[in-house]
């Protein structure tokens, strides 16, 4: 499902295929699936955002409207990815929504300290999951206004 598009709207960072699929289904139900890039771990996410590694040549100025970030990732944790995004001038302004199974207070606190824009715990119930993902997609892609590039 790797789609390279000039107008990337969503960067989905999720190691589990099942979760990624459910997320995409939920977004699709709200017709928000266009221009979504799915990466499976932290380094790949950073490569994409900074146009490095496999993504060399990508236009760095063309950044997603929102990053949906799982915390529980192989190689580089979601917290670390968030830190890198929020401490780099080039990516600092990209809205990052943590979408995770963890409801741990420490995680929530740490993410907010690093400057996360939203923290969503994935509901177990599919209906609720669809509802939550749909709402956040609508909010960040359609309702939210970003500084003009």
């Amino acid at each position: 499902m790797n789609q390279s598009s000039d107008a990337v709207e969503i960067l989905l960072v999720e190691d589990m295929a099942a979760d990624a699929e459910l997320t995409m289904v939920a977004l699709k139900k709200h017709c928000l699936i266009n221009n979504l890039v799915w990466v499976k771990d932290g380094p790949e996410a950073l490569d994409f955002l900074f146009a490095e590694g496999a993504y060399v040549g990508r236009n760095c100025a063309d950044q997603p409207k929102v990053v949906l970030l799982d915390l529980h990732l192989p190689r580089l944790s979601g917290i670390e990815v968030l830190r890198r995004i929020k401490t780099d001038e080039r990516t600092r302004l990209i809205p990052v929504v943590v979408l995770t199974s963890s409801k741990e207070e420490v995680d929530i606190e740490e993410c907010y300290r690093l400057g996360v824009n939203s923290y969503i715990a994935k509901p177990v119930s599919f209906d609720e999951f669809v509802k939550v993902v749909g709402e956040l997609g609508l909010y960040w892609l359609l309702l939210n206004r970003r500084p003009t590039e």
């Binding site: 099942a18 459910l22 289904v25 529980h72 199974s101 177990v124 599919f126 999951f129």
Partner: protein, 628 residues
Amino acid sequence: MTFQALSRFLFGTLRGRLIVGVAAVHAVMMTLFIADLTDRQRAMLLDRQVEEATALSQSLATSAAGWIAADDISGLQELVEVQHRYPEMLFAILVDKQGRVLADTNKSRLGSYLLDLPGEAHQTVVSGTSALVDVATPAMIGGQHVGWARVGIGQKAASERLADITRNGVVYALAAILVGSVVAWLMGRGITRRLYAVQETIDAVRGGNRLARSDVAGTDEAAVMAREFNAMLDALAEREAELRSSEERYRSLIGKVQAAIVLHDGQGHILIGNPLAQALLGLSEDQLLGRVLIDAKWHFLREDGSILPVAEYPASKVLSTRQPLRGYVAGISRPDRDEVVWVLVNGEPEYDDGGAIARVIVSFVDITERRRAEEEIRELNQDLGRRVAERTVQLESANKELEAFAYSVSHDLRAPLRHIDGFLGLLEEKMAPTLDEESRHYMTTISDAARRMGTLIDDLLSFSRMGRSEMAKTQIDLGTLVHEVIRECEAETQGRVIDWRIAELPVVTGDRAMLRVVLVNLISNALKFTQPRPRAEIEIGCQPGREGETTVFVRDNGVGFDMKYIDKLFGVFQRLHGVDEFKGTGIGLANVRRVISRHGGRTWAEGKVAAGATFYFSLPPRSVKEAS
């Protein structure tokens, strides 16, 4: 030599002096008396002689006057001769007015002239000594001076009498001197014998007989002296006994006391070192007292093991600082021992009347064993500390593992559930047109099970969090918190008739979030189990508990419970009602108990089937403040 011996014999003793003195006084007094007596006698004799001579001369002049006028020489001679009947008569002379001797008892002077006649015609004593009284009397006839009668009287008999008197006086004086001396000797002997008796006692005492006492009795000075002397001896004996007894006590104390004591003089020299001090310091008495040199390997040590210079020895310190030395710890490196002997040293100065240090008492206590024990305890403590640290590390790592486990539970276990439910949902959507009622029921059951498991995981995590999260204690107004919780529950209670009875509640110290969990659980339980009641009655109140505790209760008129299951009430995932009857996982009261016990309080409940339940929790006194 002889004079000295004599002088010593006479004046060397009180007795001699007394005798010589009394004899001398006698001699002087008798001599004066006799001299005076003879002098008076002599004067008296002379007076009588003069009177006699005057009377004779007068009568001769009267008798001779006519004869002289008649110039009858022979009559005059007869008249003169007659005068010889006076034994003491020396001469009788008659002369005419010109001084020619007319008659004389010594005829050889006849016709010669007397030149020593008085100038005028008055009776005159020409010579008045005791050897010769010579009186010249004018012979007068009818107031006419015709010649002189001169009579000389000697004193032979009177002188003899006077010599007798003088001789007798001397004899009496000598007798008196003798008698006086004898009396003086007797008196002196009497007095001095008593004195000698006292002296004998003194000699005896000096000779060593401390019990000798003088037995001189009476009221005189010797007796008084003897008594005073005896009293002095008694007092001395008493003092000596006291001193001896004090000395014995002191020796026994120093010798037997179970402490090492060394006594120094004001210069720091050791006067006494008791046996324990000798044993502890490892020095003989001779070494201590400086009579024998101390081994060069013998040292006092500081606590760090360095050698203590002599100037810093305890006694020297007390002498230099003039302050007591207390609790000073020193080591003793003894050549006869491998190990250092550790001692606790105290030094006390003693001052003389002038404020100078007269003595320094230094005492030593052997603390070698104590130090060893302390060392062992210190090592044990270090060991214990190390083990505690190890255990703490183990515990922390176990805790970390637990947290990691909880974390993975929250994430890893939930993900599959989500996937089950998610894909079941997708499957249901896809199959919807072809699914029969039974299949749809199966799918719903699977979905419910997955969701329920999700809830269980969440509850388990929250329970675990209640146990391990840090407590942030603040002042909490329970009343405000209760109202806050009730407001939150309003969404669930819409349409229900609920009679809230909320009393005044105290301000307590505790973790706000945790106590909130307690109230949420108790209140939502009360709401849940009163659901079947048309009118729910929920009472929240406060009552004083035992030992100053504050007890808060939540009472409802709900379905209640059977007291025989009370043990299960606060257990994890323990439920007294079916899931279909009342929702819930059975974690709520377990959380309540955990939070309250972490606050140091207690939880309990009372209930009856179909007759409501009351849940209590208490907080210890220190966490409760007076509700204002």
